[in-house]
């Protein structure tokens, strides 16, 4: 640290840039690259390390795009599948952008040597449920996310005009006359406040599955971006649609692996779901299913339902899920399909040929997000959004493989548009007062006697799982809304601190400030939507209701959540 900074610990460090990108996952890194390519200066900030903190680096499976390498394909076919999965709620412009631009991004990544798996000289594309043909590229073995992250990090290293700053947690968007003019942040390793002036700001903070007890999330996925956007005056859309992954790993404790890794095993090898009586139960629920593909008896939502029901009926596995068994398969088949992964499992004491594992539904992805126009600008001028943080493209349910494509495509698009706006505006809109309220908030943090905030975070995750999980009812949702209010009152309006630098208590408090707001933004529209559609299943309102073919919009008005409805956007954007 420089002496000047040391001398005046209370004065925030100030940084100026054309484009500020918040979050360095796939979307944020791509946004930074494209913005810099367009000639803008860029700051790429992450609360964790660059390219390491979110979902992108953890993804182990596939990326969907109509490359037509495996079989002839066209992006319009990909679009039809995406719209069908979204059950009438997709923003068609967004979905079209994702599908049309996907191949371009995957080929660019290919040129950057990401290492897509190849077969007979072409990129290998696998078939995943919901896609009408083999469309999903990947990097062996289960290395897609790490490869995507590494490739983008290398590009960042080689690019000019991008300043990368890790350990920088963005606390609020700074506004001037209703326009985004930068942000205020907490630098974790020094405990200092930092203000950032920017002519355009891109939110690329990923999803919110960290709100749930069982999840595939990293510690940075409590949904910061949704809260940043709401407080800045932007709207959220489709927030009630949280995707649960039915067979997330539950037990025995498995370390060093992404908890959704059983999916590729089931694609390749089958695998039986058993209850505590060691009886297959999928067939008991399969009659309700019209879209069975033979091998995978149940779709994701039905499998989630089946496992949840078995557990409720007292037929769950010891850890509270179902058994997943590959014991009917010869050991050699398992090894030939998954080679090195079998060794990683062995290091965890798991031998699939001998013992089943336990699985359960886990929160995995968020379809909803910040509402934006086709340039990915929110209703707040100068505030853009990209990646999983964007709402609309996937409607009520997402196809597997669409999320990484979405991160790359929307990242590139938002970065380019943000740069254009920044380069067109002659001077910065920044004024120090824009950061005032957030600086005051950070300065007011002090040690005080409160409940253990880490335990409050755990309590929130528990109540979201139990009351706002995959299967919802009015009484459960109402008690969730009450409980969230109670926790809000418990943490109060003034931040709590415990140390001068790298203070996890202050981070918990700031996280809860966001998480509680985002939890409300999920629960309120979930209560209002009196039907079952895609990932939103109401036990008291089973079945899809045509009249609910509308998006719900969440906004913040005088600190209160406000709900409205809007017809899904049809028509296409030009990529």
């Amino acid at each position: 640290m420089t002496a000047a900074a040391n001398n005046d610990a209370m004065a925030p460090t100030h940084i100026e840039t054309d484009v500020l990108v918040i979050g360095a996952g796939g979307a944020g890194m791509y946004a930074a690259l494209e913005a810099a390519k367009a000639g803008a200066s860029v700051v790429l900030a992450d609360r964790s390390l660059i390219g390491r903190g979110g979902a992108t680096v953890m993804a182990q499976m596939t990326v969907a795009a109509a490359l037509g390498e495996q079989t002839p394909d066209h992006w319009e076919y990909h679009l039809s599948d995406t719209l069908a999965a979204g059950r009438g709620l997709c923003d068609e412009r967004m979905a079209a952008l994702l599908c049309e631009d996907g191949p371009r991004r995957l080929r660019e990544m290919d040129g950057w040597k990401v290492g897509w798996a190849r077969e007979d000289g072409h990129i290998k594309q696998a078939q995943a449920p919901g896609h009408d043909r083999p469309r999903c590229a990947y990097v062996d073995f289960l290395s897609t996310g790490p490869a995507v992250s590494r490739t983008l990090r290398t590009q960042l290293n080689n690019a000019n005009g991008i300043r990368r700053i890790g350990d920088l947690m963005i606390v609020d968007i700074a506004l001037r006359n209703g326009e985004a003019c930068g942000a205020t942040a907490l630098h974790l390793t020094t405990g200092q406040a930092v203000t950032l002036a920017a002519k355009a700001v891109v939110i690329a903070t990923g999803g919110l599955t960290g709100l749930y007890r069982r999840n595939s999330a990293s510690s940075n996925m409590g949904g910061d971006g949704y809260a940043l956007a709401l407080r800045a005056g932007a709207e959220l859309i489709d927030m009630e649609f949280v995707q649960f992954f039915p067979i997330g790993h539950l037990a025995p404790r498995l370390v060093g692996m992404d908890p959704i890794m059983w999916d590729p095993f089931r694609y390749k090898l089958g695998g039986k779901l058993l209850n505590a009586e060691m009886r297959e139960f999928e067939q008991d629920y399969a009659t309700q299913d019209t879209r069975s593909d033979g091998r995978y008896v149940l779709t994701r939502d039905l499998a989630t339902y089946a496992i949840t029901r078995e557990v409720e009926a007292g037929r769950g596995s010891p850890a509270g899920g179902a058994y997943l068994s590959f014991q009917h398969l010869p050991e050699a088949d398992i090894r030939s399909a998954f080679g090195p992964v079998v060794d990683r499992l062995a290091a965890n004491g798991i031998d699939l040929a001998k013992h089943p594992v336990e699985v359960a539904p886990i929160a995995h992805y968020h379809m909803g997000g910040v509402r934006a126009d086709e340039t990915l600008q929110t209703r707040v001028p100068g505030l853009y959004v990209s990646g999983e943080a964007v709402g609309g493209a996937n409607g009520a349910n997402r196809l597997s493989g669409n999320a990484i494509t979405e991160a790359l495509v929307f990242g590139a698009h938002a970065g380019r548009n943000a740069a254009q706006r920044a380069l067109q505006s002659s001077s910065t809109k920044w004024q120090p007062q824009a950061a005032g309220p957030t600086l005051d908030l950070l300065r007011s943090a002090h040690k005080r006697d409160v409940p253990n905030l880490a335990a409050v975070v755990a309590e929130l995750k528990g109540l979201m799982a139990d009351l706002v999980g995959p299967f919802r009812t009015e009484p459960k949702l109402r008690s969730a809304i009450k409980a969230i209010e109670r926790l809000k009152a418990e943490i109060g309006e003034v931040p709590v601190s415990s140390a001068a630098v790298f203070d996890p208590v202050l981070v918990d408090w700031l996280d809860l400030r966001n998480m509680l707001l985002v939890a409300q933004s999920v629960t309120v529209p979930a209560l209002a939507r009196t039907e079952s559609r895609g990932a939103h299943q109401r036990e008291d309102y089973p079945g899809l209701d045509e009249s609910w073919g509308v998006n719900q919009i969440v906004a913040l008005s005088n600190g209160k959540i406000e709900l409205s409805r809007s017809a899904p956007v049809t028509g296409r954007a030009a990529a």
Binding site: M1, T2, A5, T13, S48, L49, I50, R52, G53, G54, V57, M58, Q60, G145, P146, R164, I165, G166, D167, L168, H187, T189, T190, V194, S216, S218, S219, N220, H249, P252, R253, L254, V255, G256, M257, D258, P259, N348, G349, N452, L453, A454, A455, A458, S498, A499, A500, V501, F502, D503, P504, V505, D508
Partner: protein, 111 residues
Amino acid sequence: MKATLAIQRGVPGETPRLESFEVAFEHGQSVLDGLRALRLVADPSLAFRFSCINANACKECMMLIDGKVDYACTVRLKEGVTALAPLPKKALIRDLVTEIAPPDERLWPRA
């Protein structure tokens, strides 16, 4: 089962202090699981880095575990004492947190 985590704590310029915590665990749980549990029940101010928890993808949780540099999220908890200390060759921030970001990804690149 019970594990004892003997953790080296403090900030630069301070004599490091050793604090021991007992934490209940199940077979297969990681040192990171133990540290996260400690924050819930014993001391929420304990500082350590991690992001991905399960995937061993973020590589942020490196520390000195029983004298060896390793990932807290892949080393298993054991009965008896496990000694935890910050990485010795990196600048200390606080407790088990050190400056591990590449220099050009820091707020103060010349630090």
